[in-house]
């Protein structure tokens, strides 16, 4: 799902509006979407308050990965510890029973947290395709070099012939972006 979303701007003609403040950006997105234009993506140097709502993004389910990771880590480690001390090589350590559950709690807890953290970040990186790479990722996916500094870019995609170029231009004039790049393409 995220995959197709990310690739969406590459299909069809794409126009880019550049702003310098989060409020204007959110306002622009609302207007554009209200006018029936499809806002494919918004790029910003920091998370914009209210943009999820404006873009009508579905809430992320990344917490599920955390839960699964944590359960796997915790249960797995508990079972492994139990196997080590009860089945594989039971030893008399300090006269305590092999099944000394309280002693196994700390490590179980740590592994729960560790694997949950790995699962969360792994999911984030995988889903958002965040991997180490040499070429600046701006080339394919980042529309404007200053979106990591002080610019906010809104991408509007033209699709299915329902796009009205005149209306779009008029709206853009009203929104007063710093820049308007029509038919923006991946460099």
């Amino acid at each position: 799902m995220a995959h197709t979303e990310a690739r969406a701007p590459e299909r069809g003609r794409v126009h880019m509006l550049v702003f310098d403040a989060p409020e204007t950006t959110v306002g622009a997105v609302r207007r554009l979407r209200g006018e029936g234009f499809e806002v494919a993506e918004v790029y910003s140097p920091f998370p914009i308050h209210g943009i999820d709502d404006a873009m009508a993004l579905r809430p992320t389910r990344i917490a599920l990965a955390t839960l699964i990771g944590g359960l796997c880590g915790g249960i797995g480690k508990l079972v492994f510890q139990g196997w080590v001390h009860v089945i594989d090589w039971p030893m008399d350590i300090g006269g305590k029973p092999d099944t000394a559950l309280p002693a196994l709690v700390p490590v179980t807890f740590e592994l729960t947290v560790l694997i949950a953290a790995f699962a969360t970040l792994g999911t984030l990186f995988l889903r958002r395709r965040l991997f180490p790479r040499l070429v600046p990722a701006s080339a394919p996916s980042q529309p404007h070099p200053r979106v990591t500094d002080d610019r906010f870019a809104v991408l509007v995609v033209e699709r299915d012939g329902s796009f009205a170029p005149d209306r779009f231009r008029t709206l853009c004039q009203a929104l007063r972006p710093l820049e308007l790049v029509e038919d923006w393409r991946v460099a």
């Binding site: 995220a2 979303e5 310098d20 989060p22 409020e23 993506e41 918004v42 790029y43 910003s44 140097p45 920091f46 998370p47 914009i48 308050h49 943009i51 999820d52 993004l57 992320t60 990344i62 917490a63 955390t66 944590g70 510890q81 080590v84 001390h85 594989d88 090589w89 030893m91 350590i93 300090g94 000394a100 002693a103 700390p106 740590e110 947290v113 560790l114 949950a116 953290a117 969360t120 970040l121 999911t123 984030l124 889903r127 958002r128 965040l130 991997f131 180490p132 790479r133 040499l134 070429v135 600046p136 990722a137 701006s138 996916s141 980042q142 070099p145 979106v147 990591t148 500094d149 002080d150």
Partner: protein, 469 residues
Amino acid sequence: MSASAWTPDRLGPAELWPPGEREPLVSDSLDHGEVTRALVAPVEGRPGKGWWIAFVTAVTVLVMGFSLIGWTVYKGIGTWGLNRTVGWGYDITNFVFWVGIGHAGTLISAILLLLRQQWRTSIARAAEGMTIFAVCCAGLFPLIHMGRPWLAFWMFPYPNSRGSLWVNYRSPLVWDVFAISTYLTVSLLFWYLGLVPDFATLRDRARGWRQKLYGWLSLGWDGSARTWQRYEKACLLLAGLATPLVVSVHTIVSFDFATSVIPGWHTTIFPPYFVAGAVFSGFAMVMTLVLLTRRLLHLERFITMRHFDFMAKVLITTGLMVGLAYATELFIAWYSGSRYERFTFWNRAFGPYAWAYWLMVFCNVVVPQVFWSARARRSELVLFIASIFVNIGMWFERFNIVVISLHRDYLPSSWSHYTPTLVEVGILIGSFGLFFTLFLLFVRVAPVVALHEIKHTLALQKEGAHGTH
């Protein structure tokens, strides 16, 4: 966080700052571009004289410390002042001290994040860095304190040809191994996650090898709304994970002592006592470090006295908590009726190491009381001196727990004394060299204040200002 409306009233105790006089956390006049330029300047520019002096000093101390570690490994632990009765001294004292220091970062970045304390933003990055470097210093000591450190990998359960002889999961030291390595890993992940957008900023400003380097480090960050959405969620989740983790780590470190049989160690109060002490010492160290960094990197606009005011309040609170713990220990030792417990605490206060005990009480309980004064909370000199005192006091707290409990335990015939050697003192100083070397490198590689978070805070501040008027 992003979902809820932020109002300045939540900033902190509003009564201190009557409406209209409310001091902004970050100077309002800045725009995003200025923030970027101001904060990446130490990374992109050439280091100043101050940085070089600090760096050369730190590296020198580091080299000295590691030479002494090399000497220890070559000759044996006998180069230290430990003996048959006192098997742990500076080594574990330093370990617990550094682990404690390492608590403030995660506390500030995770717990205060969950508690929506915006003032954390300016110091969170530095505090997280400090956490990681402190945990590195801490991890060093369990490693080198071993008689045979080259076999340290036996502490990890890995399949082996010894019939698969695993580890003893009942041992608090194994818990430590898992706790410290998990804590280091999760802290690193959390820290790195926060750095990724800032690396992208650096990447997009850089050319040549720096662009490649930051290109690698920023993982192809694009700043899209969808990425930010998941990013923020992941940050919250990690904060949620890190919060019990940070509490668990010092709890487990306290288990090293609490699960033993030695009077003075075998104490159920230890987990909360250790965690409070860790926050206390961590905040003191953050204070020391941020006071210096702020001056060194000219970040007064981002780290304001208001931040220190908050930190000083945390110090006084946690200082009272450890003070309560000290008193509780003494009371319970008396109340327990155990002759061993009673003697141990009598010995702490009036035995041969009484000076260390009272130094601890002075530094940790008396000194922070100065922060009842609002003027003291806003005096850099008072803050700096007090934070140093707390650092010293918290080191001695661990020394008292480790050494004074051991040197006179159950059997009077084995009572002994411990005096550190120059090697041990040198390694302790060397660990500060490691800490500051890493920190000084860090401020040259990454923005010491989180760019995107400051910008976010600025934006919220403006929005909030609009919203309330």
